[in-house]
Amino acid sequence: MKRWDAVVIGAGHNGLVNACYLQRAGLDVLVVEKNDWIGGAAVSRELTPGFTYSNCSYVCSLFRPEIMRDLELPRYGLQVIPYEGGAVFTQDGDYLAAYHDPHAHRREIARFSARDAEAYERYARDVTRQCRFIQPLLMRTAPDPASFRPRDLSELVYLGRKFAGMSAEELQLTVRFWTMSISDFLDEYFETDVLKAYLAVSGIIGTALGPMSPGTAYVLLHHYMGEVDGAVGAWGFARGGMGSITRALADSLRASGGTIRTEAEVDHVLIRNGKAEGVVLAGGEEIRAARVISNADVKRTFLKFVDEKELPEPFVKSVRNFKIRGSSGKVNIALDSMPQFPALPEDSPCLQGDMHFTDSIERMERAYDDWKAGRWSADPMIDMVIPTTLDPTMAAPGKHFMSCFSQYCPPQVEGRDWTDADRDAFAETVISQIADYSPGFRDRIVHMEVRTPREIEAEVGLTEGNIFQGELTFDQLLFNRPVPGYAQYRSPVDGLYICGSSTHPGGGVMGAPGRNAAAEILRDASKSTRHVSPAYDVI
């Protein structure tokens, strides 16, 4: 029976990034994926003829350029196209746009407030400063503060130096950033509700918190620290849909000799004498490997794939307590023509960006109140994009794919399981909101894919449908992600690693967890990490 050097559970983008690095370092790697498609939450499927969806994730910024380069992803078809900005439609028939050009952006805000127009610069400076602080941490294994190993010590010193290099003001701002609510944070800069509502979206996306909950300011940072070709904070569309990222990764993996098996659901990890020796598939097939790396979230990995008795009790407890609440839903729509938004001028660049309908923080917070009560938001916060305005490959000319991410959507409905009727009622809140601003919208719909946390969990395996494989709150970040003591991609079981978004630096299509995990695994295997380039300098 073949014994692989490594078996990776899950062909999500992090599992694939991890596998690529291991294969390139000379290990013989097998990826097993339960679905008959790959990609996890970075996936593009054609569910109706002629339309490619970005079924889960829909915009790209966080994916690290170092990884794209190391794994030669452009050669395998990856291209990210930046987009303009976006708009919030206001209830009085106007809108607030976000424009790429700083002066146009200032003039746009000045339509609402002369003061806020000139406040944006300082806000952007402060956010950028914080991103510059965090960015270098993404591509490093978080230090274990309880360890005295030289590498941990030197990483702690690195962290310490970064803090020491900060001015008192910056340090104050950093701590505030990590603890404040996005609403309070924005109040320090701006007075215009619609502007705050537009900016606050990044603080709540995928998060089971409202804009007034402490901790959401950090979530905003998490969404800002990405880049498109060096433009920090910019977002773009992956040409061909988000699945083109995982397709490129899979091609890169195969080209270097790696193997992917789909429709191969892991039932559990094979553990002997406290050491992982492979996996057992749902049908009972055993696959042997020198090490096992799980791309699934931390709960699935340790509460489903591993027998509890193999794990120390405090660890199991921490994993159980890991916050991974589902809070988002998504409606993917195929349109037979471009929807009209009479509020926007014809050819407005906003149509190529992210569009929202929630024009106040208060509406956003009320949308969250529904979630707390176990219901989907009656007036949901929708992040809507139409990638086909910039990407001609996802639908035929004149046809469009629209992605509507909706916050908030609970993992269970008032304590019971989702039904199909619930799902359709959830979709209706999204459709009717769009239709309010876009006459004739319903008539353009050709096909629709509705995803509540139920579908997201069932298809992607994200526990509770949490899009980040665990909340991005500060108690679950850095050396506390996923749980204290196990932030370095290792686990209590020898030879069992985790590499998904549950680990540092967290969720989003970023690739950093998969890459960092690969570096640790290679170190344990005494293999060279020369294929893993260091993070680009932040200068």
């Binding site: 002369a114 900060m166 407005s348």
Partner: protein, 410 residues
């Protein structure tokens, strides 16, 4: 303090169209576009502005030999008005505003509470309780927040007020010929209102060239007729429209600094160590400790007391004739001492000039044996030059006509 009123719904909607022209045109655009030969535009704070109109070198000599007309409308302007206007400006800026009489303008700067420079600019005292602040960057939230507790209204008026700089040895005579009676009696930094059509034009004897010159401010609707008035009268005085490139040469000769070119303003500094105190940007002379409290005072005093001021801005004269833009400054050709922020060959002084930011003790206690490393790219080959640099006082070029009152031929 009064709150800035929001636009009416109707106005707010009409303003949507701004996105159709990302680079706004200034009120003088029709005239400048008609004279534009090089099609060499650049973006000045969101406005389409001329970098050159026909030839940089020749435009420069319009400043030094005739009269040069330059559009300064993109300068950011704030109106500060109310019983507490003087007290507010005194709290905001470094110099003593109580010494600034109505009808006078002074060059000043303002800092945040940590004593780092937010911007420099000119403060016009148009009347006892009315000021205009002109600058490069935007500060409305800072001004409004600072106005809390003061009986003063702060309004941004960049678009309402158009501005022209008329600079050069014939500028006084030109204005006189254009009907600006008594212009010759204006001293440097004087302000005076003159009639123009239905309204008036505010003229100050100021400029950014170190030459004889004036700046004219007018309500936007009257802008073009003011231009025409100057242009018609100017025919006999060699009036020429000029762009930024020529102006920049003249301002370096005058030793004047530009925010976000010669230093980074606090609101722009993404890297926390790039911010600068007045003492680090050559603006220390503005700090008036005899007046009451002002923003940044405590931090500036502390830094002076603790001797923790880390940089110094100096004027340099460099051997040879190759401009040393952004070159590294060395001590003994070895140790990095700083960086050149602006550089130009001076046609008037026939010297190679530069403004540099040095890290102390260089420029402070160590002022000798400084060198700059210039990489001159010619026909795809770099010539690497190590040239001696000498610290010299600014302005590099001092023209008696800048300050003579009345000006010579007026």
């Amino acid at each position: 303090m009064t709150v800035v009123p929001p636009l009416t719904d109707e106005k707010r909607r009409a303003a949507q169209k701004h996105i159709e022209t990302i680079r706004f045109e200034t009120p003088f655009h029709p005239r400048i576009a008609a004279l534009m030969q090089t099609n060499d535009w650049y973006d000045w704070a969101g406005y389409k502005s001329a970098n050159t109109l026909w030839a940089e070198e020749l435009e420069y000599f319009a400043i030094r030999a005739q009269s040069a007309l330059f559009d300064i409308s993109p300068m950011v302007k704030y109106r500060i008005e109310g019983p507490d206007a003087e007290a507010f400006c005194n709290r905001l800026t470094l110099r003593d505003v109580s010494k600034l009489r109505p009808g006078r303008v002074h060059y000043t700067a303002w800092c945040d509470d940590s004593g780092h420079v937010l911007d420099d600019g000119t403060l016009f005292r148009l009347a006892d309780t009315r000021f205009r602040l002109c600058c490069q960057e935007r500060h409305l939230p800072w001004l409004l927040d600072g106005a809390l507790g003061f009986d003063v209204a702060v309004t941004e008026e960049t678009e309402e007020i158009a501005g022209l700089a008329l600079q050069g040895p014939t500028s006084c005579a030109l204005l006189k010929a254009a009907g600006f009676d008594g212009i010759e009696t204006m001293k440097p930094f004087d302000i005076r209102d003159f009639g123009h059509e239905s309204g008036s034009v505010t003229v100050s004897r100021t400029g950014f060239t170190g030459d004889l010159g004036y700046e004219l401010f007018i309500d936007t609707p009257l802008a073009l007729s003011l231009w025409d008035r100057l242009w018609t009268a100017g025919e006999l005085y060699g009036i020429r429209a000029i762009g930024n490139a020529a102006l920049n040469q003249a301002r370096i000769e005058a030793g004047l600094i530009v925010a976000n070119i010669d230093f980074i303003t606090t609101d722009h500094a993404l890297r926390a160590d790039r911010v600068r105190m007045p003492d680090e940007t050559g603006l220390g002379w503005m700090v008036d400790l005899k007046k009451g409290h002002f923003n940044g005072r405590r931090a500036i005093e502390d830094a002076r007391r603790n001797n923790s001021i880390r940089h110094v801005l100096v004027g340099l004269e460099i051997e040879g004739n190759v401009p040393a833009d952004h070159a590294i400054v060395y001590h003994r050709k070895k140790r990095e001492a700083g960086v050149i922020t602006s550089a130009a060959w001076s046609p008037t002084a026939k010297r190679n000039l530069a403004i540099a930011s040095l890290e102390r003790p260089y420029g402070d206690t160590i002022t000798e044996d400084l060198w700059v490393e210039i990489y001159a790219l010619h026909e795809l080959r770099y010539t690497k030059l190590m040239k001696r640099a000498t610290i010299v006082p600014r302005p590099f070029v001092k023209l008696p006509r800048r300050t003579a009152t009345p000006p010579a031929d007026c």
